[in-house]
Subunit: 369 residues, 2 copies
């Protein structure tokens, strides 16, 4: 194998595929990046859960393939000047990498031993802009459960129905839901689809996605999903089974509703949480709502805090307590300036929604004081 | 005690004094910041090695003093909106902190128990610009020794002689020296002075110093040093004893001299170091200098690297090996575009100097291959 390509393009490809390189493994080949030179060069990584493949424009002088340690390969290319890089496989898998007056010789591994990515047929894909998917993942992933006893909840539901695309995460105490309406993406030819994507996969794909309007396609077959971003694809296993019927969790009506400024409420919760030190993490933050006023208090060994906010209020007055982290994490990802918060009783769930439409909903269970 | 001051000013003061708050201590009061309200308010921290005092403009309604946990106090003020903050000490050292619609009540500690900073008379000070001192520390501190068996070398020498101010660090294998000539700072009335400042103190003062031309004054008395930055001072113990006669370490002449581009040489060393993994950290990088060309090589189990550089050369050809980190750390702090490197023999020290003048000198011992 002998290829010549620009440092910039090569590094961009390496930075993407590095996200699926195994950090800890007993198989050295999984710490590597597979380089295949055909028409162009293709970089592949595979930690046996997630796989990434990326094409890089190159001048291929001699076809072939080799596996190089991802860390070493990445560092070498990163440190090169912005110029043409030449990679050549010599005898015994020795690889020479040259750029201007620098020359490296490192040991590669035989490409034969590299595990192939699962094949997923590109049929009946879901189309969505990279930026929108990146945002939707960021706005829901924090509510994915860490509890391996309920494996289904360690992933997020991707639901596609009548052109409406929804992501839902539930950890047993809260729910995060983000939707894209068919008004935004008119593509209703697809059949209904429900996929459960592992949280780890979502974290990695969110890092790869760029905040641009370019579309990507999501395909699924068997227990595999494929994200197709054009010259770069990512595959992952899916979680198998039936996800919770999340729509049944939302309360049908409410007793109290407030309209508040998102950032202002977030600041109040963040300050209230300062007296809740890590040893006291289950101390509640209490909301006391009456007469268009909300008083937020927390009282612990470390101190007492009291915050007062003006709110637009509908319905009954209410006193209710929450675990501060659940509110803070939801409020941090909401981009809307104002939100409506719907309460049932002091023991029932509350729901955060936009003033209009149903782009998102965050449901949080209260704490019994 | 009851004071009112702006959040911005108070936070600036807290951020400075927090650098001398004990991280790990069995004395809770050392995790605190002493607040004293007189004409203005004065914040003090003291970890018994370093002490910092900072004045903050305030409207003092009632004089007094209290100690507040630095982390909690800092977090509360940081999270407040940009507005007036009121701090009031109530009964039993309970402290109320208010800002707009937020109110905290936390427990303080009696100011009586807070250890006073050592007093250092402000006589015969050394004057230097904050920016210049900050730069000089950054350019020498990496060569301070970590070896507690030679306590003197765990600090840097501050030498003041005939108006020339010099900082020197030596760790037994290398030396870093940075000077300010009397041409730059004409203040020759001071007597000769030699102070050895602990590395930890230098790290902290470098963080506090701003990259501005404002002057600070350095005073010393007994085994204490005082950095006076106007509305903020820092004290520290000094290391006691006689520092090495560093001038005697520099070779009197050289056999080989090269003139090179600093960044280019740094890049070559950084790339060469890529094959020197942590397990192989004592593998050398070898320089082969002849015919206005320098070939830089490193060969380890991880791979081989070869770099070639054009250099302006004077004197004999030479092959010499170094521990890569010593060159990299020196080259990273040199702001000059070009440098001269003087070599004696392949077993003798080399010295990096500016093309003109004697603003700096970095001496590095080679490795015997």
């Amino acid at each position: 194998m002998k290829v010549i390509c620009s440092k910039e393009n090569l590094l961009e490809g390496i930075n993407i595929v590095q996200k699926a390189v195994s950090a800890k493994t007993t198989l050295p080949i999984l710490e590597g990046i597979l380089i295949e030179a055909g028409e162009n060069i293709k970089l592949t990584s595979n930690d046996l859960e997630i796989g990434i493949e990326c094409c890089v424009d190159a001048d291929v002088r001699e076809k072939g393939s080799i596996v190089l340690n991802a860390r070493m390969f990445g560092e070498i290319i990163r440190r090169f000047p912005d110029a043409e890089v030449m990679i050549e496989v010599k005898e015994n898998n020795n690889v020479v990498i040259e750029c201007e007056n620098s020359m490296f010789e490192i040991r590669g591994l035989d490409a034969e031993g590299f595990p192939a990515l699962p094949t997923v047929e590109k049929n009946d894909g879901i189309k969505i802009s990279q930026k929108k998917l990146k945002d939707m993942i960021r706005q829901t992933i924090f509510a994915v459960s860490m509890d391996e006893n309920r494996p289904m909840l360690t992933g997020s539901l991707f639901e596609y129905k009548d052109g409406r695309f929804t992501i839902v995460s539930i950890d047993g105490y809260r729910l995060a839901m983000r939707c894209l309406d068919p008004e935004e993406e008119k593509d209703t030819e697809n059949a209904e689809r429900k996929l459960i994507i592992p949280g780890k996969t979502l974290n990695e794909i969110a890092k790869i996605l760029q905040p641009v309007d370019d579309d990507l396609y999501i395909y699924a077959a068997g227990n595999q999903i494929l994200f197709d971003m054009g010259n770069c694809i990512m595959t992952s296993r899916l979680l198998e089974g039936e996800y919770l019927n999340y729509m049944s969790i939302f309360p049908k009506d409410h007793e109290t509703k407030i309209r508040v400024n998102t950032k202002e409420l977030l600041s109040c919760f963040e300050r209230a949480s300062l007296v809740i030190t890590s040893e006291e993490r289950r101390y509640p933050v209490t909301l006391d709502i009456s007469d268009d006023k909300m008083v937020i208090t927390a009282n612990t060994e470390a101190g007492n805090v009291r915050e007062e906010m003006k709110v637009d209020m509908d319905g009954k007055k209410l006193e209710i307590s929450f675990y501060h982290k659940f509110f803070i994490e939801a409020l941090r990802v909401i981009d809307n300036e104002m939100i409506d918060v719907y309460f049932t009783t002091s023991l029932g769930p509350c729901t955060i929604k936009p003033l209009q439409g149903n782009d998102f909903a965050y449901l949080i269970l209260p704490i019994r004081r």
